[in-house]
Structures are given as structure tokens and as C-alpha cells.
């Protein structure tokens, strides 16, 4: 339950306070065990007794512990960034922005509908006025056809101006929204590309580190018999100075050989990583440029489309001249029979054309808004998808790291156990346990094992 809090211990899985905290409080525990060890009976009395080792302490002193700790840190970092609920999405405001966008589009659609309604009313009023004027002109000295036409045109221009202003406002709002979305998308793309490059780099670095660790372990294992033989020889009191010096030189030569081979491998790996870093940087820049260009192109296309649509809408606002009334729920268009045939025909033609254009425009405007909304919804869904893929990648990375960590821990533990077995045999201990909760009378072999493990560093 507190696995990540108590890093570097295999006991985490047992979710136990004591076992877990033993690893955390290693220094204190070491002191305690050191005290008990200092007062225990000397070696000859240990034959046939029970021994124990604190595996976590030994693992921490192993030459490959740094690599193990690096795995732990990497896993911890991935855990924090990939699985923490508060950072589940790469852009935490994604949903909020999507809602904003949806709201803005809905508002714009509402405005369009209101505008169309308004135009419809104005049109009806215009038509009513025109028909009334025409009737008055025919029988009661009203305005002439030219005056009616002029009045109609003036009203139409007024309408057109109002609609154009509103359309410009909508267009500006739409442009601003697109710019915001573009910025968000570019940022998200940049982040995703950087994360991908970072992941690739880290994976390569870990792969190389693993190889270095494997090489180190392989050399240590291969040289272990010779090293042990030399160390055993050095513990012999009967060894003369020349032989002792020779053995020490041989030990030093083994260490140097391993150290040189490892350093050479590290140098090569470092060069590889530098080259990879440069390559990834170029790749990120290229990919980002391409994505930015695509995003901009898409937005400019949408903006141009929207601009054209609004321009059509504005240009199509001609002045109607036919009265439309609703009688008993049915739309009725009336043109006075007393009007001169030419004027009547012209007004009817104007009305018919305008009505068709008006309806087509209304339809186009609404369809345009809906399409834009769907397009932006899709683009946001793509962003979500990108984020999901990033999350899945992080999970895969965690699993891979855990597997590598487990393998490395197994190798370290196996080597430690080999050392402990030798010590136990030398001291005549019959059985050695690890993962103990409390030592009461057993022999602590940890200090001896620590010396042997530390000698692997030399």
C-alpha cells in the first residue's frame, strides 16, 4: 500500500508497516543490528546456528544499486506523471476548452437564428409598408413606385449594414476562437513530441545503462572465482610479503581491467546518447513545423470558408417588397391587384428571389455552423486521442521499467546470496534467512556480507 513511499525494497508488496519501514530506516536498523552483532558470541560458537541477513542493506551496497535506484526513480517519475489522477490528461483544461468552444459555437448559432428571425420580421414590415404604400399610391395619393422602391432600398441597406456589423463581430469571435484553439493544439503537439522524444531518449539511455550493468555483472561474475581465491589467499596468515603483494597486484589488475572495460563502454554509450539527442531535437523541430503548418492551414481554410459564407449572407440581403401575413396559421403573400402589372410583377419577382435566397442563406448559415462545430469537435477528439496514446505509452514504459528492475534485482540478489552462502559455510552457519521481522538470537551475517559486497566496488 505504500510501495512508492518505501522505494528500493522488495517487501513493499507485503504492504506491511514493519517490513516496509525496515528498508526506509536502514541506517537505524544497521546500528541496531551492529550493536547486537558486536555483543554476540564469537565465531566458533556459531556452528549449527541460525543466521540472517538484511537483504535491503546488502542490495544498497551492491555495485549495481545505482542502476536499480535509477529504475526506481524512473518508475516513480512515470507513476507520478502518468497515473496520478490530477495529471491524467496532458492538457488539464482540455475538456474545459472544448466546453467553451461548444458554447461559443452554440451562441453563434443562436445569434444567427435570431438574426434570421429579425430579418424575417423586417422583411415582413418592409413588405407590409410597400404594399400599403402601393395601395395608397393607387387610390389615396400615396408614394409613387419609385418612392416605394427607394424606401425599400433604404431599409434594405440599413438591414444590410446591421447584418454586416453582426457578421463581422461573429467572424472576429470565430477568428479569435480559432487562434486560441490553434495555440492550444500547437502547445499540445509540442508537448506530445517532446514527451515522445524524451521517452525515446530515456529508453535508449536505460537500454545502454542495462547493457553497462550487464557487462559489469558479467565481468564481476567471470572474475568472481579468481577474486575469491585471491581474497581467501590474502586472509591466510602464512602468506609471505612477496606472495601477498603479488596477490594484491592481481586483485588490482582484475579491478582495473573491469573498470577500463566499463569506462570504455560508458564513453561509447555517452557518444551514442549525444548523437541521439541531436537527432531527436531535429526530429522534434521538423515534426512540430509540419504539425504547425497543418494546423494553420486547416484554420485558415475554416476561416476563409466562414468569411465567404458570411459575405454571401450579407450580400444576399436585398429588400423585400411583398407582404406576408399569417392567417389562421397559414402563410399568405398578398400583392394588390390594383398595382400596375409591371410594378406588381417586379415586386413579386423581387419577393420570390429574395425569399429563395433568404431561405437558402439561412440553411447554409446553420449548416455551416454545425459543420464547423463538428470539425472542431473532431479536432478536439484528436487531441484527446493523442493524450490517450501518450498515457498508454507511459503505462507500457512503466511495465517495461518494472520488468527491467525486477530482472536487475534478481541478478543482484543472486550474487549477494552466493556471497552469503560462502560466508555461512565458512562460519559454520546451518541456515540463513532473510526478510526477518526481528532478530532475537540469530547470527547477523549482514556486516560480513556487506564487506564482501563492498569489495566488489574496489
Amino acid at each position: 500500500m505504500m510501495g512508492s513511499a518505501f522505494r528500493g525494497t522488495e517487501r513493499a508488496a507485503t504492504a506491511s508497516l514493519i517490513a516496509l519501514a525496515l528498508a526506509v530506516c536502514a541506517p537505524a536498523f544497521l546500528l541496531l543490528s551492529g550493536c547486537s552483532h558486536a555483543t554476540k558470541a564469537p565465531a566458533p560458537a556459531e556452528k549449527g546456528t541460525v543466521g540472517y541477513v538484511i537483504m535491503d542493506d546488502l542490495v544498497k551496497k551492491h555495485p549495481l544499486y545505482d542502476q536499480l535506484a535509477r529504475y526506481d526513480r524512473s518508475i516513480e517519475a512515470f507513476d507520478l506523471t502518468a497515473t496520478a489522477p490530477q495529471v491524467a490528461a496532458s492538457d488539464p483544461h482540455l475538456a474545459e476548452r472544448e466546453r467553451d468552444l461548444q458554447k461559443q459555437l452554440n451562441d453563434a448559432a443562436d445569434r444567427t437564428r435570431k438574426l434570421i428571425d429579425q430579418k424575417q420580421k423586417q422583411y415582413q414590415q418592409q413588405e407590409s409598408a410597400a404594399i400599403a404604400a402601393a395601395l395608397r399610391g393607387a387610390g389615396a395619393g400615396g408614394p409613387s413606385a419609385a418612392q416605394i422602391s427607394s424606401s425599400v432600398n433604404a431599409t434594405a441597406r440599413q438591414q444590410q449594414s446591421g447584418v454586416a456589423t453582426q457578421a463581422q463581430r461573429d467572424l472576429n469571435a470565430y477568428r479569435s476562437t480559432l487562434q486560441k484553439q490553434d495555440t492550444a493544439q500547437v502547445n499540445a503537439a509540442q508537448k506530445a513530441l517532446s514527451v515522445r522524444a524524451d521517452r525515446t531518449y530515456r529508453a535508449k539511455a536505460e537500454e545502454l545503462q542495462s547493457k553497462e550493468s550487464a557487462l559489469s555483472l558479467k565481468m564481476a561474475s567471470e572474475d568472481a572465482p579468481q577474486r575469491l581465491a585471491l581474497r581467501t589467499k590474502l586472509t591466510s596468515l602464512a602468506l609471505d610479503d612477496a606472495a601477498r603483494e603479488d596477490a594484491q597486484k592481481q586483485l588490482a589488475a582484475i579491478d582495473r581491467k573491469e573498470s577500463d572495460a566499463l569506462a570504455a563502454a560508458r564513453n561509447r554509450d555517452q557518444q551514442t546518447l549525444v548523437a541521439l539527442q541531436a537527432q531527436l531535437k531535429d526530429q522534434v523541430q521538423t515534426d512540430l513545423n509540419a504539425q504547425v503548418a497543418a494546423i494553420r492551414k486547416r484554420s485558415l481554410g475554416s476561416l476563409a470558408q466562414r468569411q465567404q459564407s458570411l459575405a454571401r449572407q450579407v450580400s444576399n440581403l436585398g429588400g423585400p417588397a411583398v407582404r406576408t401575413t399569417v392567417v389562421n396559421g397559414r402563410v399568405k403573400q398578398q400583392v394588390s391587384n390594383t398595382l400596375p402589372p409591371a410594378l406588381r410583377a417586379r415586386i413579386e419577382q423581387l419577393h420570390s428571389d429574395y425569399q429563395k435566397r433568404f431561405q437558402a442563406d439561412a440553411k447554409t448559415t446553420i449548416a455551416d455552423f454545425q459543420k464547423t462545430r463538428q470539425d472542431l469537435g473532431k479536432r478536439y477528439a484528436q487531441l484527446h486521442g493523442l493524450d490517450g496514446a501518450s498515457q498508454a505509452g507511459a503505462q507500457a514504459q512503466i511495465l517495461s521499467l518494472r520488468k527491467k528492475r525486477e530482472d536487475l534485482y534478481g541478478e543482484i540478489k543472486a550474487q549477494i546470496e552466493r556471497e552469503v552462502r560462502l560466508i555461512a559455510q565458512q562460519r559454520g552457519i546451518a541456515v540463513v534467512l532473510t526478510d526477518i521481522v526481528a532478530p532475537a538470537g540469530g547470527v547477523d551475517l549482514t556486516p560480513d556480507a556487506l564487506k564482501d559486497i563492498e569489495s566488489l566496488h574496489e
Binding site: V24, A84, V432, A438, G441
Partner: protein, 269 residues
């Protein structure tokens, strides 16, 4: 198989007697000829356990579907009730499938332990060196014809004790400290995750993680360590009073041993 087993017991008895004679000068509080080990993973790989496991998994998948179907439109409280109900059904099935197998395995382990004069059998994972590995003997009994025969004698008192650490974790003092720490850790997780989001370079990330670890380590030393020390001290005191050599976690005990959990929890109250 029974003949083989009988012969095995005779050989084991002879070996135990021989070992006892050889070890006479060292017999005392730390005599270790009575510690055995068992590879529990090897037992879990036996066909009978594998089959039961497959059946349990299939049942679990079926239950999962049923649960999702019923919980889909249920309220939160109803979902909790359903989750409890389905967990109970799963546990029942587990008992039904594994209960007889575990019972049979326990008898086999007890039988082998008795024949080898073992007072305790621990999980092989915690044995670095020595001890008597009884895995093959137990496997032979479990895969043989007929049921293993229970031992007629009870094992002698062991010098290895054990505690149920989950029970110790539930004692009020330990639980309060643990809960506080977990709460603190959750807060730190969130803070570190937020900071990691703003980290622009690998060095920034490393610094965030370094701070995070240090904060947790400091908090552990401040709150958990004193509790751990007092708990360990209590376990050590009880162990010494009972003449035990070592104390291990209950999860690592397969057979025998001395349970000192209650003594420790009483001492911690």
C-alpha cells in the same frame, strides 16, 4: 506410493537420528535441524491448482460482466452494496475451489514435516542458505494416489516465531500513524505531479523528484520511524521472553512456528 512414502519416512527418521547424534555438541537454543523450506510457487504450478485457478478466473470474468450489467444504472450506494455482494460470491467460490486443495496440501506438508522432525517450514523465498527443502516430498504426496495421511504427533515447539504484520498494522497507534503518513504522501504525490507538469528540462524533473523523495524520507523519519522502532522493540522483547531465535512475517510461514501476534499487539496497546 504409500510404500514409497513409508520408506521415505523411515529414511528421514534414520537421517534425523543420525543428524541428531552428529549435532549433539551443538544442540541448544540455536539448533537448526528442524527448519524446513517449501517452494510455494512450485506447488501453485501443480495441475490441480492450475485447474482451480482457471475455473476461478472464468468465474471472476462472468461475475464481472454481471456486476457491470447491474451496476450500470445503480446509485453509488447500491453500487457499493453490489460490489460487496459480488466480492463475497467470489470469496465463496475461491473457498469452494481452493479450500480442499489447501487442506490437502496442509496435511501433506504436516506429514512431511513430521517425518523430518521439522518444527517450522518457511517459504523458500526467505531462505538464503541451508534448511531442509521439502518441496519435492510434498509434491510427491500431492500428486500421488490417495490422500496424504495426517501426522499422529504434533510438532515440537519451534524456535522460530512469526507475527501477522497486517494485524499489527491495524492496532490503533500504528494505524493512525500509517494513515497520517498515507495522507501526507497523497498530498505530496499531487504536489509533485503538478510540479512535474511545469518542469521544462530533465534537470527540473530530477530536482522535483529529489525534493519529493527528501520530503517523504524526512516525514518517514519523523513519524513512522519512532513507531517502527517501538514495534520492533516490542516484537524483540516478546521473542526473547519466549526464547525464540528469529521472528518472521506470518506470510512466510508455511507450517509450524510460534505465533506471537497477540502478545505483540497486547504490548503495543
Amino acid at each position: 506410493m504409500n510404500q514409497l512414502f513409508a520408506r521415505g519416512r523411515a529414511v528421514a527418521l534414520a537421517f534425523a537420528l543420525g543428524a541428531a547424534i552428529l549435532a549433539t555438541p551443538a544442540i541448544g537454543a540455536n539448533d537448526v535441524t528442524d527448519i524446513g523450506s517449501l517452494d510455494q510457487q512450485a506447488l501453485a504450478a501443480l495441475p490441480a491448482f492450475q485447474t482451480a485457478n482457471k475455473q476461478l478466473n472464468a468465474y471472476g470474468a462472468s461475475l464481472q460482466k454481471q456486476y457491470l450489467g447491474r451496476a450500470q444504472h445503480a446509485s453509488q450506494s447500491e453500487q457499493q452494496r453490489l460490489a460487496g455482494e459480488f466480492q463475497g460470491r467470489m470469496a465463496d467460490k475461491q473457498r469452494q475451489l481452493f479450500g480442499p486443495l489447501f487442506g490437502r496440501a496442509q496435511v501433506a506438508i504436516a506429514s512431511v514435516a513430521s517425518s523430518k522432525n521439522l518444527t517450522v517450514v518457511v517459504d523458500k523465498r526467505i531462505v538464503v542458505f541451508g534448511g531442509q527443502d521439502i518441496t519435492n516430498n510434498v509434491k510427491q504426496l500431492l500428486t500421488g494416489v490417495g490422500d496424504p495421511v495426517p501426522p499422529v504427533t504434533t510438532p515440537p515447539p519451534s524456535k522460530v516465531g512469526y507475527v501477522d504484520q497486517s494485524a499489527i498494522d491495524q492496532t490503533p497507534k500504528v494505524k493512525a500513524v500509517t494513515d497520517d503518513f498515507l495522507k501526507f504522501k497523497q498530498e505530496q504525490d499531487k504536489a509533485a505531479a503538478d510540479k512535474l507538469k511545469g518542469a521544462k528540462t530533465a534537470a527540473d524533473r530530477d530536482n522535483v523528484l529529489k525534493d519529493y523523495r527528501k520530503t517523504l524520507d524526512d516525514q518517514q523519519n519523523k513519524t513512522l520511524k519512532p513507531m517502527v522502532d517501538s514495534t520492533r522493540s516490542a516484537i524483540g522483547d516478546v521473542a526473547k521472553a519466549k526464547g525464540l531465535i528469529l521472528v518472521v512475517d506470518k506470510g512466510n510461514i508455511v507450517f509450524g512456528g510460534v505465533d506471537i501476534t497477540k502478545d505483540v499487539t497486547d504490548k503495543l496497546k
